[in-house]
Structure formats: C-alpha cells, structure tokens
Subunit: 358 residues, 2 copies
Amino acid sequence: MDVSATPESGEVHKRTHEKRDGRKLYLYGWAAHDLPVTAELEAASPPRPHLRWHPLRGEWVAYASHRQERTFKPPAEFCPLCPVPEGGFPGEIPFADFEIAVFENRFPAFHPDAPPPPLDLPLRGGTATGQCEVVVYSAEHGGSLAVLPPERLALLVHVWADRYRDLLSRDAVAFVMPFENRGEEVGVTLHHPHGQIYAFPFVPPVVERMAAQFRDAPVLADMRQSMGEAYDIAGNEHAVAFVPPCARFPSEVWVMPRRFHPGPWTFSDEEAFSFGALLGETVARLDALYGRPMPYICCLYAAPKGEDGHFHFHVQFLPFLRTADRLKYLAGCEQGAGTFLVDALPEQMAARLREVTP
Amino acid sequence: MDVSATPESGEVHKRTHEKRDGRKLYLYGWAAHDLPVTAELEAASPPRPHLRWHPLRGEWVAYASHRQERTFKPPAEFCPLCPVPEGGFPGEIPFADFEIAVFENRFPAFHPDAPPPPLDLPLRGGTATGQCEVVVYSAEHGGSLAVLPPERLALLVHVWADRYRDLLSRDAVAFVMPFENRGEEVGVTLHHPHGQIYAFPFVPPVVERMAAQFRDAPVLADMRQSMGEAYDIAGNEHAVAFVPPCARFPSEVWVMPRRFHPGPWTFSDEEAFSFGALLGETVARLDALYGRPMPYICCLYAAPKGEDGHFHFHVQFLPFLRTADRLKYLAGCEQGAGTFLVDALPEQMAARLREVTP
C-alpha cells in the first residue's frame, strides 16, 4: 500500500489500494487516509471486451458481452459506492470513510489486458485496450456537484488532473474522458454522486471532429470573442459558464477556463479552485431552472494525446429536460441523420439561467 | 385539385389537395380517391426555422423556436391523423377515408420559404430551406408496419419513391430521409401509425460519413459477402433482413434489396412488393422478441443528390429495448464521445430474431 502526496500540489494525498481481483482503488484527500480495510466485494471476473469496425460509419463499436453475464446481485437497497464500516455489507470501497475514491470499473468496456478480438469476425476487429474508472465524489450517499463544498470540488479537479496524467502516460491510450451521467432519465441507477473516466485506445468520433476543428482555428476562443457576455450565465476569476449560441440540447451549458489550457493538468491551484466552484454553481443553476435535479450528461473535453497545443479544454453539460416535465428525445433526425432540432433559443435560455436563483 | 396516376407504376393513384394555409396534402392509393372534403384544422402559422453552424462539431444545428409557440390545442383524446367523417372534429386529413396520406408538417424544422437567419447571430447562420412531411400509413388509428397487409406496404414503398423523386428534384434539397420514430420511449405521442420525411438543404453528418465510405468502396456489399447468412433473420426474393455484425443498438436490424439500388425510386414493382413485405416481417419479429411493440427509430438511407452511382440504399432499425423491460440509454460514451457500448453480441441477437415466431 502506498501513501503519498502528489508532487504537483504538495497538498493532495493519494493512497493506492489493490483489490483482491487486482483492480486498483485510489483514495484522494486533503487529509492523509489511514483507515483500516473493512469488507470488500467479491472478485470481479476478468473482462473480455473487444472492438468491431463499423464500415458504414467509419468508427469503432465496443462490445462488452461480459456485462450481460453479471452474477453479482447485491440486495436491492445496497449501494456499492457507500463507505463500509467495520462489520458492514461489503462494498467497492472497503473503508469506513473517504473524501474522493476512484476505482477500476467492475464491468469495463476498455481494459489494460483486453484479449484480442474473436478470430471469426466477418469484419475488422480490434483490441479494447484502455481503462474504465468510477469516481466517487463523496462518502455521503445523497448530494451532487451542486451541493459539494468548494474544497471538495477543487479536490475533484485535482483528481481528474492526476487521472489524466496517469492514463495519458500509457502507450495504448489516445484519449481520456471523465464524464457524469446524472438522473434516471439518462439511465442512471446508482444515485450515490459519482462520475466515470474512460481511457480510449483511439480518439472517438466526436472528439476527432472537435480536434480537427481546433487544428484549423481556435474555434472556441473565436466563438467566445464574438459572443460577448450575452450568453454567459455565471463566472468567476478564472472560469466562465455560458450557453453556446449553437446549443444542441435545451439549457446546454459549457464551462471553460478563461486562459487556454489543454486540460486540467496545467491548472494552477487557484484555477482548479475557480473551475471546481463554477462547475458546482452551474449544476445548482440547472437544478434551479425547473426546481428539480436536472438529468444530464456532462463531459470533460481535454486534448487527445499530441493535441496539447491547440485543443481548448472545456466541459459540456447536455441536459435532457426541455420543460419541467418534458424530456428532450434524440430520435430520427438526431440519431439517424446526426442533425439536432432545437426548440429553445440559446440566448433565451442563457437569460433564464443567469436570472434563476441557485 | 389534381387526380392522376404516377407514370412509373401505372397503378398508384395520387390526388393533391391544398390546405387553406397552402400546405400540400397527397392522397395515395391503389384505388382512385374521390371523396369530398370534410372539416380541416385551423391554418398553421408560417414557420421560421433557421440554422446555426456548430464550430466545434463542424455541423448545422436546426432551430425551430416557432414549435414552442404552438397555440394549437386539440382535445386530449383527439388524433389529428385520423380520417374526418362528415360533421367530425377537424383533422389534418379532411376526408372520411384514405389509403396513405402525406402532408406538410405543421411545425417543420425545414421549409421551402424559410426566412434568412437572424442578423445578430455571433456565429455563422444558414437558411433552413427544405421540407418536412408526415406520412400516415393507414386510416386506422391502431396497428403498425407489422400488421399492415402486403399491398399497403408495397404502396408505402411507392409513396416513398414518389416523395424522393419530387423532393430531390428541388434545387435546394441535398438529401431526403424518410424515417419513423416508434414508441413513447422514443418520445412519440401520436400512436396513429405514421412516419416522417425530412428534405435537408445539406447532407447531414451521419449520411455524409456514410457517403464518404461508399465513395471509397462498396462497404455494404463487401460486408454482406463476408457475413454469409449467419446474421440473416429473414429474406425473400428481392430483399434481405439481417443484424449487422457491427450493430450499435441491441437487436439492430438492416433491410436491403438484394440488387444494388441508390433508392426505392429505381425498384421494379416486384422489388417494391418484396421490400415492403420484408419491412413488415422485420417489425413483426422485433415485436415478437419481447412480446411487446418494440420502440425504435427506423431510417431509410438512400443516395444523397449526386451519389447515385455507389450509395447502397438500405433501411436501419435502431431498437431501444435491451431486455423486455430495460431501455438502451445513450449516455456519456455514446453521446459525448460518439462511441457505442453494446452488451448483446450481434450473432446471438440474429439467432434469436431468426428463431422467434412473428
């Protein structure tokens, strides 16, 4: 077991624990973590994901059929992300308390030791090398980014930076994406506040298109300059949150640092604090919009490997409510053609999100 | 009013009716339609959609804020797609009966007379020229493609062919996509069996990528050849239905003609009949899989303008159930990265769909 502070901050402590099935668990905190190990969940079976090339779309599809074969059936009310007290029901994080915990996903779509694809595929196959991690924001079962204290949000930004550094240093990894799916409307069944991190062995299609645009021009900085402040919903010293004038989702919000960064790994401590605080305020504003927790997909877009010079790091929140009780559906035009239809004008949504009381 | 048979088939009758707001309504049938006009819905307001360029994705987003401003509020139990008897509540199709009806959408995302985009946009705008149509498969309020008789399914294929010819003949149209959203899980609120047709002023992103692959190689024919029959779920003289080995959705099925066609407009009458019948059987098999109507997105992919020589026409069914009671959600990895994660192996789903009794 290894207890150490990351050299960059001098303040963030990181403890590494290896589960009995070899999966790594990292405990991050402003305080050093020295609690004893309690009860750990049964070992995960070795994952066997693989990739297939989609010849009409020109992209990889990831198959993880082991996800169907889960034998793991905890009690219905059991949360595998909660801390485990002495004598408690086993969990993924076998400690009585923690600040932020990161562990390798039990059912990953990408894995460092993924086997080669089946030999009898009628199209090109690929090895799903990479990693999938779960990031647990808090030992509390309730809550969300909207209510975490600013110190915890700042810690989360440092955790992401550390995971980026580790995962991007691996030869097989081309792109790393932390993200959060929130709400039953997005398919989330675990309500304990958490996100995920996927380390891909290729640059996925959405990011590849984005990288191509950034290679051509500083498209995000250019857009910010043309927008003025009419689309801003909140901001602080080092970060700004706004509805993009080309929003595809109702109440879509992007959060970005005011200075250029390829990813949070180049943030100063002050920038990390500002950025974390603004993420929290953004979720609080989205929750206030309809007086209920907003279901969303939130993605961190940092530079793929080798694109550090021009890819502008930012976060996109894609909310799924178009009114207080109506979902935005992605149907024929969006899924089948790839063109989004939007009822709400971004400038009107920006005004509402700016004026709402979080 | 114009009653005429299409020259190609010598059998399909088409009657054109202009609504009081100028929107066109076409009545197609194997029999000539000569019923009198009954009660028509109030006039639609002029639509004002526009386009904005998304600089990070390099694609158009369509804004149709007039869709929010709907004043039209029919009784809750009222179906605007049902036929209207003498003295009945007004509807979109003011006739007491019909076989297949096509009319211009009341709230279109694309319109022949779309105005130029607002002048004060902080990014590139575009005019949303094009057309959106609704295709009503039957005068019956219930039912689906799975239960329509083969003559009606063949008529539907002829209707699509006629709409393709009309819409693709317009200078402003680059691509035409008939599609169907089915089920409340996909956001459908009108249960009367119907589909839609969008005529785009640009080639949308999914189709542009597909067209680029077809320019390189006959990717679909190549895939069929490598697959053998292991992935087929049904077939007849002129058409085949199969689970693609690169399926992104659970129980995804593609239907294609056995000979190369750029679109249904080059089908013989026999091919149209075969193709329609196989679409019906495919939906019946999808419905039988879990013993309930399968929610899906179904898209027709025919050649964009100018790509007739190599773009292989086919239909994709994208079903949203991954088990009898669990939805497939498109979350962070699918929406945010563009990479699909799939639990079910295509070859296993093909076997199940082949063996199920429709």
